[in-house]
C-alpha cells in the first residue's frame, strides 16, 4: 500500500511526525517533543521508513496521546470535582422536582438526563475553543426545554453544563487539545436532537400531530449538523497543516 498520503509522509517524515505529536497534551509536547523527534529520526534511519514503521508510529502516537490526556484529566482534581459536583447537583435537583411535582415524567426525564450527562462527558474530553458559542448553545437548549414544561430540571442541567464547559475550557487551554471542531459538531448535533425531543413533547402536550414535512425539518437539521461536523473537522485539519 503506497497511497498519496504515505508518499507525502515519507517525503517529509519529521514534519509529519511533528504534526502527529500535536495530539499529545501541550505540556507533554513541550517537555518531551524534541526528544521524541530525535528518537523517531533514529528509528526511521534504522527502518528505512517502511509502511509498517509508519503504521506503528501512528498507532503509538494516537494511543499514548490519549493515555496522556486521560492521565492529565485524572490528575486535575479541580476539574474532576466540578464535573462530579455539577452532575450530582443536577441529579439531586431532578429528584427534588420529582418529589415536588406529582405528575413528573420520570422515564423521559431519565433519558434526557443520561443524554445530557453523556454530552457533558464528551465536552470534558473534546472541548477546546468557541466557549461563548457553546455556553449560548447550552443556555438555548435549557430555555427550549423550560418552554415545554420539562423546564426546571433542564434549566439546572443547563447551569451544570455551563460549569462543565467552563471547567473543560480551562483544562483544554492548559493542554492545547486539538479536537475542538469535533466538540462543536457534537454540540450542533445534540442541539438538533434536543430540539426534536422538545418538539415531540410539544406534540404530546398539545395533542398536535405534526405533518411529515415538519418532522423532516428536524431530521434535515440533524443531517446538516453532521455535515457541519465533517466540514469543521476538515477546516481544523487544514489549520493544523498550515500551523
Amino acid at each position: 500500500v503506497n497511497s498519496g498520503h504515505e508518499r507525502s509522509a515519507t517525503k517529509h517524515p519529521l514534519k509529519t511526525y511533528r504534526m502527529l505529536l500535536r495530539l499529545y497534551p501541550k505540556t507533554f509536547r513541550i517537555r518531551y517533543g524534541e526528544q521524541m523527534e530525535s528518537v523517531f529520526e533514529d528509528g526511521l534511519a534504522g527502518s528505512n521508513g517502511t509502511a509498517w514503521f509508519w503504521l506503528g508510529t501512528i498507532w503509538d502516537v494516537c494511543s499514548h496521546a490519549l493515555l496522556e490526556h486521560l492521565h492529565l484529566l485524572a490528575a486535575n482534581r479541580t476539574l474532576t470535582g466540578i464535573v462530579i459536583a455539577a452532575i450530582s447537583l443536577s441529579g439531586l435537583l431532578n429528584i427534588m422536582n420529582g418529589v415536588i411535582q406529582p405528575d413528573f415524567d420520570w422515564s423521559s426525564g431519565l433519558v434526557f438526563y443520561l443524554q445530557a450527562v453523556s454530552m457533558l462527558g464528551v465536552f470534558v474530553f473534546l472541548n477546546h475553543r468557541r466557549l461563548w458559542l457553546e455556553i449560548l448553545g447550552l443556555l438555548l437548549i435549557g430555555n427550549v426545554y423550560v418552554q415545554f414544561g420539562f423546564g426546571v430540571s433542564a434549566g439546572w442541567l443547563s447551569l451544570a453544563g455551563f460549569l462543565v464547559v467552563v471547567a473543560s475550557q480551562l483544562q483544554a487551554h492548559q493542554n492545547g487539545w486539538r479536537f475542538d471542531a469535533l466538540s462543536r459538531g457534537l454540540l450542533l448535533w445534540f442541539s438538533a436532537r434536543v430540539l426534536e425531543l422538545a418538539f415531540t413533547r410539544f406534540q404530546v402536550m398539545t395533542g398536535y400531530r405534526a405533518e411529515t414535512p415538519i418532522l423532516s425539518l428536524f431530521w434535515l437539521l440533524e443531517g446538516a449538523s453532521l455535515l457541519m461536523l465533517a466540514r469543521l473537522t476538515w477546516q481544523q485539519s487544514r489549520l493544523t497543516r498550515a500551523g
Partner: protein, 113 residues
C-alpha cells in the same frame, strides 16, 4: 500490604539505567538487545514511562548533556530510590522463580531440561 509490582516497561528502563546513564534511544536499544528483540519500547511507551519515573523520583534528568551530536537528547540517571525499587522488584521476581522451581514448573539447575 505487599509492595506494588512494577510494569515490565518500568522495570526494563530501571534495569537499563542501573549500569550507566542513557538517553531515550539508547534505553530503547539496550532493552531490545538485552531481551533478544522480544521487548521493543515505542517512543510513546518510553517517554510516558520516563515522565512517571521522573514524577516519582525513581530517575532524574542530568542537567548537563554529554552528547554533543544531538542537542535534543536528554540523559537520565537512576536515583537511590530507583535503585532500591529495582532491587526490590528483582528480589520479588527471584522469590517467584524459587517458588516455581519448588513446584517443578522450572528445572532446578540452569540448563537442565
Amino acid at each position: 500490604m505487599n509492595e506494588p509490582t512494577l510494569t515490565p516497561a518500568v522495570f526494563h528502563i530501571l534495569l537499563s539505567l542501573s549500569d550507566q546513564n542513557r538517553h531515550g534511544y539508547n534505553i530503547m536499544q539496550d532493552v531490545l538487545e538485552r531481551t533478544d528483540g522480544k521487548i521493543r519500547l515505542s517512543p510513546g511507551t518510553l517517554y510516558g514511562t520516563i515522565k512517571r519515573l521522573l514524577e516519582t523520583e525513581l530517575i532524574l534528568e542530568l542537567p548537563e548533556q554529554p552528547d554533543e551530536t544531538d542537542q535534543r537528547r536528554r540523559y537520565y540517571q537512576l536515583t537511590k530510590l530507583g535503585r532500591s525499587t529495582a532491587k526490590a522488584e528483582a528480589q520479588r521476581l527471584e522469590e517467584l522463580v524459587r517458588l516455581a522451581r519448588s513446584k517443578k514448573l522450572l528445572p532446578n539447575h540452569r540448563g537442565t531440561p
